[in-house]
Amino acid sequence: MSLSPSPLFSAPGPQVRAVSDEFHGDLLEVSMGPHHPSTHGVFRMMATLDGETVVKLKPVFGYLHRNHEKIGEGTSYLGSMPYTDRLDYLCSMTNNWAYALAVESLSGQAVPERAQYLRVILAELTRLLNHTCLAGFLLQDCGASGTPLMYAFREREKILDLFESLSGSRMMCNYQRFGGCRTDAPPGWLEAAAALVGGYGAFLDEYEALLTGNEILMARTQGVGRLPAALAISAGVTGPMLRAAGVDYDLRKVDGYGFYPRFEFRVPLGAHGDTYDRYMVRVLEMRESIGILQQALRGIPAGPIMDPKARLRGFRAKPGEAYGRIEGPKGEIGFFLISEGGPNPYRYRVRPPSFINLTILEDLCLGHSIADTVVILGSIDIVLGEVDR
């Protein structure tokens, strides 16, 4: 295994071999985690190293297993809603929406127009929040201690303030209901959201000036953790990971759920499928999100936010099966429900995007150094609450 020459630092000279045949030693097994700060939670990587090069990597997870799906079979449909906040705790609004979509397709409830607009606004704000955080964490994983992450968190806090004034909680929003949203936006909320969205482009410009052209970031991420499109498709990878590999697949376009067909936006695609592309695809997605948000905030109509026929107490769904999926910030988040007509589902199953995106971790890491596995893991964008459920 030779160090691949970087296009930026292609200094002439002899090729350096990472592992020479004369000094070939024993393989070393390293257990990274579950309490390693770079694993984004309680996640463990059993890495087998030849020198510093990864020759085998086994992801171990389940440390945060909370029995989410079994609990969902025991509680009422409404009672599962606050638990979905705790799956991917950065993106509670999109989790809520996917679950509400699944239950609505079981019960056949219609969602009023204003609630549909609010859902789009909240989902896109969540996408901004998630991708901003991800860029910060990725840089933290590269060793840029503090600065990019703190800039990201400064902006994230503004979005969380919006969520708090709307739903009452910064992260555990528990906001969507079957047939609409729980409360209407308080006076001045939409204006505050429009002000935030208006200023977000300037923040992205600043953030990109800090990062996108940075030679160290390029050296650490370009050509690292390359994901071929064929592997991404066969492994069921979704979201920005898949689009960075060059596959044009966005549920907002494919399914056209909610009111997304009403909005104009483009789907950014990567060309190489490496870590840098995954970073860039997310930055470009944020720019598109800003466009969607501006359209939605302009077009949001007045009116009710709940289906008048919706019932909170004693809600029962019609017997049948339903799968509700949306394009979450991390990929396709879906809920599969089987109803027997009772107050709680017979079967409740979550399709978590970051869990399925994580399955290809070994393929991405093989042949790279142990320091690169941290960067690759950071670019996959996992939240352990969702991986382990």
Binding site: L78, M81, G168, P186
Partner: protein, 211 residues
């Protein structure tokens, strides 16, 4: 040229660093506990029980111990025991009341489903977040004395929602009064026509005041 990206990034950092001294847009830190941010009205953390008056909170709880919140609570952190006797509520109707109403705030996840399902507007979300306790049993399991807070407090923390609730309750009171008046009006002409020898079920009840 190698290094220009780095220099550009450094310029951003320098701007932010300098700005953190003079640009109010970059003063994002609140010096808690000396400074406090204003909580939004929607902010919620743990539930409390609404009582009509501050002087006699236990006697004027709105809760009628219907136990809907206990059943709907996703993490099952509410324990309610019904009373065996009844007390008149704000509308003058005889209602049960909770003999025991405990909420384990160590288990509560602040989802506010108890508030949404309550048909009596008797449980609402509080905004007090400085609730650290030294003992996880007695300090965090709140009984009905600790949970009861007067309606005026609810009006103070959530004016918009309280006004809505007030309207709903006033409507309920008006409907109850009208119903009582209609019942009295119906009973008034019917009473003299009724012979005093009533069926035995009627006789078991205390005698009605003469109309």
């Amino acid at each position: 040229m190698i290094g220009t990206g780095l220099l550009k990034g450094l310029a951003v950092t320098a701007r932010n660093f300098a700005g953190s001294f003079h640009d109010p847009k970059r003063f994002v830190t609140t010096q808690y506990p000396e400074e406090r941010t204003k909580l939004p009205e929607a902010y919620r953390n743990f539930p409390f029980l609404v009582s009509e008056s501050a002087d006699d909170p236990m006697g004027t709880l709105r809760c009628v111990a219907c136990q809907i919140c206990e059943k709907e609570c996703p993490p099952q952190c509410i324990l309610i025991e019904k009373s065996s006797d009844k007390k008149p509520d704000a509308n003058g109707r005889m209602q049960l009341y909770p003999k025991i109403f405990d909420i384990d705030t160590a288990v509560c996840m602040s989802c506010q489903i108890c508030v949404e399902v309550c048909p009596f507007d008797a449980i609402k979300m509080d905004q007090v977040f400085e609730i650290a306790a030294t003992d996880r049993f007695t300090g965090l399991i709140l009984d009905r004395q600790a949970l009861a807070k007067p309606d005026s407090y609810f009006h103070q923390i959530r004016p918009t929602e309280a006004a809505e609730v007030e309207g709903r309750l006033a409507e309920g009171r008006r409907a109850a009064q009208e119903k009582a008046r209609a019942a009295a009006a119906k009973a008034a002409p019917a009473a003299p026509a009724e012979p005093p020898a009533a069926p035995s079920a009627e006789a078991a009840k205390p005698p009605r005041p003469p109309a």
